[in-house]
């Protein structure tokens, strides 16, 4: 077990925090362990931005071990748009490099007097001047920091100009296209005058039983490589199932108001593979390699978009030009903005323009027409720079809608824009969005996979029809617990690794013997802990909701007119979770069963 490095940017000081073994054994690592570390200070009044807003980068007990799809890190804090618990995990190589430099986490406090970057290696720890880098896009900044430190093998996590300008959905970027995109933690990082964090190390991550772990790792990677889902991801990228999603009506179009997208064949993962793909890219040690390398008309090789970006700038805005979508995604990556939230917020602007609730007088003269990629480019630039209507878009969809008296048109939950898996096509996403600790998130539970048929009976995740209602509530909760385990490990959710194998890997790596039930309990513990943080930050049962658009039937497409009965689903969900039906709080009994009596005291005093 390695320490967390604490950096006080105000004082220019470094210190080390030991991770209590008891916390490891309760929360595993990653996001859940971060929640335990931050629990006390993520309480009112707290600051969303600036010196007193904590920012914690965490790895997991398998990070950097070349285990199955575990080359990731997670960054946690409080979201500037949601004002609640925020977490976002990211692939690439930065997380393993942090562990190789000797740290399992990095806690950032304070605020530097001027823009700086942090440089961590086995030779030392430095806070360096970054004034010459401030303003650079995320690609340029990474290259400049690497040049400045002059050391081979360095990996850099950084923010872009959007974060510097306080865009509430700005992210943290590494390895040219790997993103911790959601919940706006880039804005938190930039508010501390921290442009980048460069890391390099050569230590092997601590593994308690190397021989046992090595054998398990080889078998797990071999099995993962043969997995059908992994093969689709490798061959077609994360948009490999776009056609199926559209067929089910689960791929939102025209800002969630159209149930089909006839041009899906032009924007799918298959289309990208057939027309533009030149290779795959991968995160540290991953055998899936879902990343796309594409070559467009200009001949330059670049990152190809993943499913969410394709939907956000494709069907969502009725754009069917995959080259344009690719460039829109790259522009967001360079400026440092989450493609889901920005495409969603632009979609809201298009919707309000169509309804006549905003006009050219509100849009700096721009006519917002569905399918017009050039206008979307303009809006992205204006948002990153907070110019004109871009200053309103930069506040996210809830704020944008509220500004124009149309908050109920915004397709968001608790300030986080809905991702592109429509619960009218796959009903489990209704609960996944309504109850996620970070807003309308598809990574706390990618339940759409279960609704497509990806069951795991060995851990009680069974199949329910894609339009089932409250009867699947307990199944969703179970899936959330299991994904909370993933976000603790920190393991990519695309890795179909048998639960028993995961328990063995974790045991061999950590030296603490785990079984699947204990891991699921740790998942439930993490989920309830994040719930407790949000309750203390003002969340109530009223916040467990869906936006109006998702409760209205679509006349066309594969949803077949279905709408989720969210009220009924929530009743079943609260019961399954052991939450109080009136307040939405985990009951005292639930918290004590999960071995968190101190949280019970805080919530029920």
């Amino acid at each position: 077990m390695q320490p967390i490095l604490e950096v006080d940017l105000s004082a220019g000081a470094f210190s080390e925090l030991a991770i209590p073994a008891a916390w490891r054994n309760l929360f595993i690592g990653g996001a859940s362990l971060a929640a335990r570390f931050l629990y006390d200070e993520l309480s009112p009044p707290g600051e969303l931005l600036g010196p007193n807003a904590p920012l914690l980068f965490m790895t997991g007990p398998l990070t950097g071990t070349f285990g199955p799809a575990v080359g990731r890190f997670v960054v946690c804090g409080r979201g500037p748009a949601t004002e609640r618990w925020a977490e976002s995990n990211c692939g690439g190589f930065w997380g393993p490099e942090l562990r190789a430099a000797g740290f399992d986490g990095l806690l950032i406090r304070g605020k530097a007097e001027h823009p700086v970057f942090i440089w961590l290696s086995e030779r030392g720890r430095e806070i360096r001047d970054a004034r010459h880098i401030w303003g650079m896009d995320t690609y340029e900044a990474q290259d400049q920091v690497k040049a400045d430190v002059g050391s081979a093998g360095v990996h850099v996590a950084c923010v872009g100009p959007a974060a510097e300008n306080g865009v509430v959905f700005s992210g943290i970027y590494c390895d040219h296209g790997r993103t911790a995109g959601r919940t706006g933690l880039g804005a938190v990082m930039a508010s501390k005058n921290l442009k980048a964090i460069a890391v390099h190390g050569s230590k092997k991550p601590p593994v308690a039983e190397p021989d046992r772990f090595g054998a398990l790792r080889s078998d797990a990677n071999r099995a993962l490589k043969q997995d059908n889902e992994a093969r689709v991801l490798h061959e077609l990228g994360t948009a490999g199932a776009a056609n199926y999603s559209e067929y089910l009506g689960a791929m939102p179009a025209r800002y969630f108001h159209q149930g089909n997208f006839d041009a899906v064949d032009d924007v799918s993962g298959a289309a990208m593979t057939e027309r533009f793909l030149t290779g795959q890219s991968t995160c540290h040690g991953c055998v899936i390699a879902c990343g796309r390398v594409v070559q467009l008309g200009d001949g330059r090789k670049r990152k190809g978009p993943e499913y969410e970006t394709i939907c956000s700038f494709g069907p969502n805005l009725l754009i069917s030009d995959l080259q344009a979508i690719t460039r829109l995604g790259e522009t967001c990556d360079r400026k440092g903005m989450d493609t889901i939230s920005l495409g969603n917020t632009i979609g809201l602007a298009f919707r309000l323009f169509e309804l006549g609730r905003i006009t050219k007088a509100d849009t700096d003269g721009l006519e917002l027409r569905w399918g017009d990629a050039e206008t979307v480019f303009r809006l992205i630039e204006m948002t990153a720079a907070r110019q004109g209507i871009g200053a309103l878009l930069a506040q996210g969809s809830r704020s944008f809608g509220r500004h124009f008296g149309a908050e109920d048109e915004a397709v968001q939950v608790n300030g986080l824009e809905v991702a592109y898996h429509d619960p009218r096509g796959v009903s489990g996403m209704a609960l996944a969005y309504a109850t996620s600790p970070r807003g309308a998130c598809h990574n706390q539970s990618d339940y759409f996979f279960v609704d497509w048929g990806h069951t795991q009976p060995e851990i009680g995740i069974e199949y329910y029809p894609r339009h089932a209602q409250a009867e699947k509530a307990a199944n969703v909760a179970r899936h959330q617990d299991w994904r909370t385990v993933y976000n603790s490990l920190v393991m990519c959710i695309f890795a179909n690794v048998a639960p028993a194998v995961q328990a063995d890997l974790l045991s061999a790596a950590s030296g603490h013997e785990w079984n699947v039930e204990e891991m699921l309990a740790a998942g439930a513990r993490g989920w309830n802990l994040k719930r407790a943080i949000n309750l203390r930050l003002g969340l109530t049962a009223e916040n467990d909701r869906l936006p109006r658009a998702l409760l209205e039937p679509l006349p066309t497409g594969g949803t077949e007119g279905f709408t989720p009965d969210i009220e009924g689903m929530l009743i079943g969900y609260y019961e399954a979770r052991g939450w109080d039906s009136a307040s939405g709080k985990p009951t005292r009994e639930t918290l004590e069963r999960l071995r968190m009596p101190h949280i019970a005291r805080d919530l029920w005093q």
Binding site: Q226, D227, N228, E229, R231, V232, E235, L236, G240, A241, A242, N243, Y244, Y247, D265, S268, G269, A270, T273, E274, F449, W452, G453, H454, T455, Q456, Y463, N496
Partner: protein, 137 residues
């Protein structure tokens, strides 16, 4: 349409006829170009492996062969391999076809991209196969 025992020569013949006379399948699969080889591994009441071959093209079944071997065929576009119990469960509606694929209960060799692009065809093929299945071993 006669409903028959799976797996059998009669079952494959019935499916061939069904695919060629089912208007919905003929329409949905009008762009499908590819042959299928089913490798059904012994399990339970099936004591020996069974193979079946279907040449599917533009919404019709051009040729089927029971007991075909890969050595006797040009390489099929798709080879679908599973234990007998999983094939039977799909045909009886106890296992969703997508579930079978996503949980690797059904091994697919061939272009997954092509298959994902033609999900409606795949699902309608399964519907036809279910409709000709009266019973399994």
């Amino acid at each position: 349409m006669m409903s028959v025992l799976f797996p059998s020569r009669e079952w494959l013949g019935a499916l061939h006829e069904k695919l060629n006379t089912d208007g919905h399948y003929n329409s949905v699969a009008r762009h499908w170009e590819g042959d299928l080889f089913f490798d059904i591994r012994p399990e339970g009441n099936l004591v020996e492996a069974v193979s079946m071959y279907l040449d599917l093209w533009h919404g019709v079944s051009r040729r089927v062969e029971y007991g075909a071997t890969l050595a006797s065929l040009p390489r099929p576009k798709f080879i679908l391999t599973a234990q007998y119990g999983n094939f039977a469960a799909v045909l009886l509606g106890k296992l969703d076809a997508m579930t079978a694929m996503m949980t690797s209960k059904l091994r697919v060799d061939g272009s997954l991209g092509y298959m994902m692009r033609h999900v409606p065809t795949v699902l309608d093929f399964v519907r036809c196969a279910r409709e000709v299945t009266a019973r399994v071993l």
